[in-house]
């Protein structure tokens, strides 16, 4: 099972913009490499990342093979209300990882 790490502040003031950092374990095989026998290694990458805040999408990214192994993504959002930030990565060969974080808005 692939591991995902997200870094979200525990408490944020209402209206404040805060940064979210995410890291997920994945080889991001480009599909351009070959084995020593010359066989092409098939592409196997994460295609999409979505971040939702209490169910509403705040950030979405589409990955291509040029994203490094173990994709890191840092972005930001506005603190509106206490709740849950949910993160989902989906990709080739049925890859799917979800992670969530609680946030308290004061």
């Amino acid at each position: 099972m692939a591991r995902a790490v997200v870094n979200v502040p525990a408490t944020v003031r209402r209206g404040e913009v805060f940064e979210i950092r995410t890291l997920v374990q994945h080889a991001m095989e480009t599909g351009f490499r070959r084995t020593q026998l010359g066989e092409a290694i098939p592409r196997d990458i994460i295609r999409q990342f979505v971040c939702t805040y209490n169910g509403a999408e705040v950030f979405r990214a589409e990955f291509h093979p040029a994203i490094s192994a173990n994709p890191l993504l840092a972005f930001s959002t506005v603190a509106t209300e206490s709740g849950t930030l949910a993160f989902a990565w989906t990709g080739d060969k049925g890859f799917s990882v979800t992670e969530s974080a609680r946030i308290t808005v004061v």
């Binding site: 705040v58 040029a66 994203i67 490094s68 993504l73 959002t77």
Partner: protein
């Protein structure tokens, strides 16, 4: 810090580099990059400015290059950045990453790590809510390409 191995690889590719870098694989050409840009913009004019693409100009290892894009925008419902696209000139595929955001992002900025196959120009394009496109490009020099390791596994 450059290890002995990194140094030797860099020296070898500098000396015999032509044979190594001109691979049998087709790289995306500047024309393909223009196609990728057109796919994003639909032919609308792209102006330079408002976007800040941050990539180191000299890269030791093309396998994990820190890249961030920031766009000047108030990020209000009336005026915000809808999407940011990063494309390259000479990677096997021109597209690198596309992000979609809106007023709830608060700040039009993201950071990630990318692979760069060659010394080339990297371009970031931002689509605004009013339909205009803005861009920034950086020329990067890559000493160890992200694609040199093929055949070694």
């Amino acid at each position: 810090m450059t290890s002995r191995r990194d140094f030797l690889i860099a020296a070898a590719s500098a000396a015999g580099g032509v044979g190594l870098t001109v691979s049998r694989r087709a790289h995306a050409t500047p024309a393909e990059m223009q196609d990728a840009v057109r796919k994003v913009t639909g032919g609308a004019p792209v102006r330079s400015g408002r976007v800040k693409l941050d990539v180191p100009p000299l890269i030791d290892n093309g396998n994990a290059v820190p890249l961030s894009v920031a766009v000047e925008s108030p990020m209000m419902p009336s005026d915000h950045v809808k999407s940011i696209h990063v494309v390259t000139e000479r990677n096997p595929l021109p597209n690198v990453v596309s992000v979609h955001l809106g007023p709830r992002a608060g700040r039009a900025r993201f950071a990630t790590r990318v692979r760069l196959a060659d010394t080339q120009t990297v371009l970031a394009i931002a689509e605004m809510s009013d339909g205009s496109f803005w861009s920034d490009s950086v020329h990067v020099v890559v000493t160890l390409s992200a694609c040199l390791e093929e055949g070694l596994i």
